[in-house]
């Protein structure tokens, strides 16, 4: 008997050392992935490298920043050898300040209603569609969702945005800020992001002999099998490096930064 043909989805190769191996080739195209992590865990760097690797492959990328001004973000990213300012100048990497986008859309308000949310989705989708963006980062979705007061509206926003971006073949990383990355913690601030996202990457710190080690764990990734093990990550000038943590001992992994 012939074995059934195994269907595999096309992958968006992140280019991040070790991550594509964990994901058996990369993130399935058009997925919306939540990159959740505590502060300083490397979320922005991982997300930025994801874009830069795409730009190096000639893909159009967009980054919406709500947590730090784009000027600062670009300054910080310049220290990485894989980044070249030409990518921004030539329009391969497009960095948008969310406060500028809000201002242009007349959204300089403390809370968004349904119309505002739709206007924001339309603007992001317009940008993706017009310049043919295939890799998108929103950093952070938490900051954005703070302006959406209803849980249902947050759900609608993320679901509609994810669906439209997926249709356009855009792979998206939504950076999410969490206060704890232990196994009992939520992977998102509002609880709804993790249910809607196709994938979840959790980042945090574990203490090892007086040092804080950054880790990354793929908790969920629809459309592919993947390792669920914690991996140590190191932010080096040549990019983010992932190495398995298991061989260092499972017991102390439970000692998260904020306690088990």
């Amino acid at each position: 008997m012939q074995p059934a043909a195994v269907y595999t989805r096309d992958r968006c190769v992140t280019g991040i050392h070790g991550l594509d191996e964990i994901l058996r080739g990369g993130i399935p195209y058009g997925s919306t992935v939540l990159a959740s992590g505590t502060c300083g865990s490397g979320k922005t760097t991982v997300a930025m490298e994801f874009l830069v690797r795409g730009a190096l492959a000639g893909e159009a990328c967009a980054h919406f920043t709500a947590t730090e001004p784009s000027v600062k973000l670009l300054e910080n990213i310049r220290q990485f050898a894989f980044f070249d300012m030409n990518m921004v100048d030539t329009g391969l990497i497009n960095v948008f300040d969310m406060d500028v986008l809000y201002s242009w859309l007349g959204l300089e308000k403390s809370s968004f209603d349904l119309d505002d949310v739709h206007a924001l989705i339309k603007a992001i989708v317009d940008i993706v569609n017009t310049i043919g963006v295939t890799r998108l980062v929103i950093d952070s979705v938490t900051t954005l969702c703070y302006k959406i007061k209803s849980e249902q509206l947050i759900r609608d926003f993320l679901f509609t945005l994810g669906k439209k971006l997926s249709t356009l073949g855009c792979t998206t990383i939504l950076v999410s800020e969490i206060t704890s990355a232990t196994e009992n913690a939520h992977w998102s601030s509002f609880g709804v992001e993790e249910a809607i996202a196709d994938g979840i990457l959790v980042m945090g710190d574990v203490e090892r002999m007086g040092h804080l080690l950054r880790f990354l764990q793929v908790v969920k990734m629809r459309g592919t099998s993947h390792s669920r093990a914690k991996h140590a990550i190191e932010l080096t000038p040549i990019g983010v490096m992932l190495t398995p943590m298991l061989k260092w001992g499972a017991q102390s992994d439970k000692q998260g930064r904020w306690g088990a």
């Binding site: 300040d97 500028v100 007349g106 603007a123």
Partner: protein, 267 residues
């Protein structure tokens, strides 16, 4: 302790105890003019000539750099055209809040509506990607105008035409507080301040409060008589000179602008 300002003797002689309304016949009716330091509030009907009276009030402009006309409805060109027509000085300071509001706020809102409805074009996206900072043009026109008037020196002459713009956009108690501050400043600096306010839609308690702050209260009225319009001004408050309370019918002449009909008509 109250603030005090020492005036130069030669200035006191030059400016005198009263200033002209810019309408000689009205000056005569008010026994010489308006006492220095007065704040006048005029409650106006649409089409009653109060805008013209406001402009005419700036025409004596003893010191052009110390004379300010604040308009919330007209543009610079429109105002200049009227001043030219009547031969009033063109070197006074004119602030056109309505024009500023249109270009700074309404145009931005219109553009935001366009983006929301029609979406971004490629050139919009390229510009957005290159824009790193929000254009902080949020204007607090009330504070700005207050500060501008408060910075004027002795014997200033100011017209605000009209206060409706602020009453419609700001907390009314804040607007009343602004008028109170300006009245105190006018008194201290012996300035002359005229504020026009439309009667339409004006909250009676705000009207009452503004009338009590003012040293002089005018009302501009218009009514029809047969096929004609009759415009009149009513002086219903004149601090410390109740003999000045009057009802004056006026007309607008090409040579003099607003001109009270001082000869009693035979009905």
């Amino acid at each position: 302790m109250n603030k005090q300002y020492t005036f130069k003797k030669e200035d006191e002689e030059f400016f005198g105890a009263v200033g002209s309304f810019g309408v000689p016949k009205f000056d005569g009716e008010m026994h010489g003019g308006v006492p220095r330091g007065f704040t006048m509030v005029s409650f106006t009907d649409t089409g009653s000539g109060s805008e013209l009276f406001g402009k005419q009030f700036t025409s004596p402009a003893e010191e052009s750099e110390n004379t300010l006309y604040v308009s919330t409805n007209e543009g610079q060109q429109e105002i200049a055209r009227v001043f030219k027509k009547y031969g009033w000085p063109l070197d006074i300071n004119v602030r056109t809040i309505g024009e500023e509001y249109n270009s700074e706020v309404l145009e931005k809102e219109l553009l935001a509506s366009r983006y929301r409805l029609e979406g971004f074009r490629l050139e919009d996206i390229q510009r957005l990607a290159q824009t790193r900072f929000v254009d902080e043009t949020h204007q607090d026109y009330l504070t700005e105008v207050t500060n501008e008037i408060m910075s004027l020196g002795p014997y200033f002459r100011v017209v605000i035409d009209n206060l409706d713009f602020f009453l419609q956009r700001e907390d009314n108690s804040k607007v009343v507080a602004m008028v109170r501050m300006l009245q105190a400043h006018a008194q201290l600096m012996r300035g002359l301040l005229l504020i026009n306010i439309s009667n339409d839609g004006l909250n009676p308690s705000i009207k009452q409060e503004l009338a009590s702050i003012a040293d002089m209260v005018l009302s501009f009225k218009v009514r029809t008589i047969g096929t004609d319009f009759e415009t009149s001004m009513i002086v219903s408050k004149f601090r410390n000179a109740p003999e000045n309370l009057k009802i004056l019918v006026f007309r607008v002449t090409p040579a003099e602008g607003i001109t009270p009909e001082t000869v009693e008509r035979i009905s």
